[in-house]
Amino acid sequence: MELMNSENIVQDRQPAQPQEEEEIMQQEEEEEEQRFHVLAVDDSVIDRKLLEKLLKASSYQVTCVESGEKALEYLGLLHHSSPASSSSQHHHQGHKVNLIMTDFSMPGTSGYDLLKRIKGSSWKDVPVVVMSSENVPSRISMCLEGGAEEFMLKPLQLSDLHKIQAHLLKSLPHS
């Protein structure tokens, strides 16, 4: 934090020039782009709020959706035809998706259905973490075999997010 001295105070009184404002906005956008973006899918409003907080507390950018269908829509996978342009790969409206976290038990398109759809699409390289409140070994192996990176038991805690970080780092393209 810069120390306030009389010079700074006088400068702060002046309205920022339009160019400076644009630069600041650009910088903020760039910083946002550098943060990992997580798509969180859960039909429970409480769990969505919790997950969003956990992820933001770990400095991730978050988009929450309430169903498997909404997630597919977000990823451009709702209609059976694959996305037309290759520029949509890993991007939605210019925003990347680094990780998808989905609840297992959801009405309609389940977390497992969503997992399979993602792994069969151009988003297949994006790690998917499946969450569930139930510890069912057959369910866990089914998800892992289906391509899930990790299966996590709810309720999630901040310490669980450390595991996620490893998966996100793995998914980074070669620099």
């Binding site: 429970s44 409480i46 769990d47 919790l50 907080k53 507390a57 409140s133 709810k154 901040l158």
Partner: protein, 149 residues
Amino acid sequence: MDLVHLQRQLVDYRTSLYHEGFLDEQFTQLQSLQDENNPDFVVEVVSLFFEDSERLLNELSKALEQQIIDFKRMDAQVHQLKGSSSSIGAHRVQKLCIVFRNYCEAQNVEGCLKCLQQVKHEYGIIKTKLESMFQLEQQILNAGGSIPV
């Protein structure tokens, strides 16, 4: 009532909620997520829980009044209630939901009715207790103090 007294009252009250099994570790997790950027986080999440639970309890009551009981749908609703109570650390409600689900699976109407009554009862208790706790917290803040961890 002076500030120190209020703060002590809050700590004692909170401790008793854990000791008596009303709340579990998950509630502590919730509190640890609250910060200056989000000073009402716990109240917000708990309010969502109250709304959601009341909706589910109403639906469960209605379901059990039907001629033909949809046990599968009820089971899904109890599962939801179990999940949300677990997410906020409402321990007793969560435990009752597990029993409730067993009765749904067994399609046992009597068992379900009894369980629903028990869940409603426990829910009522935890709601009152949490609201009392939030009131105490507000009193402390109004008196210019901070909430002890």
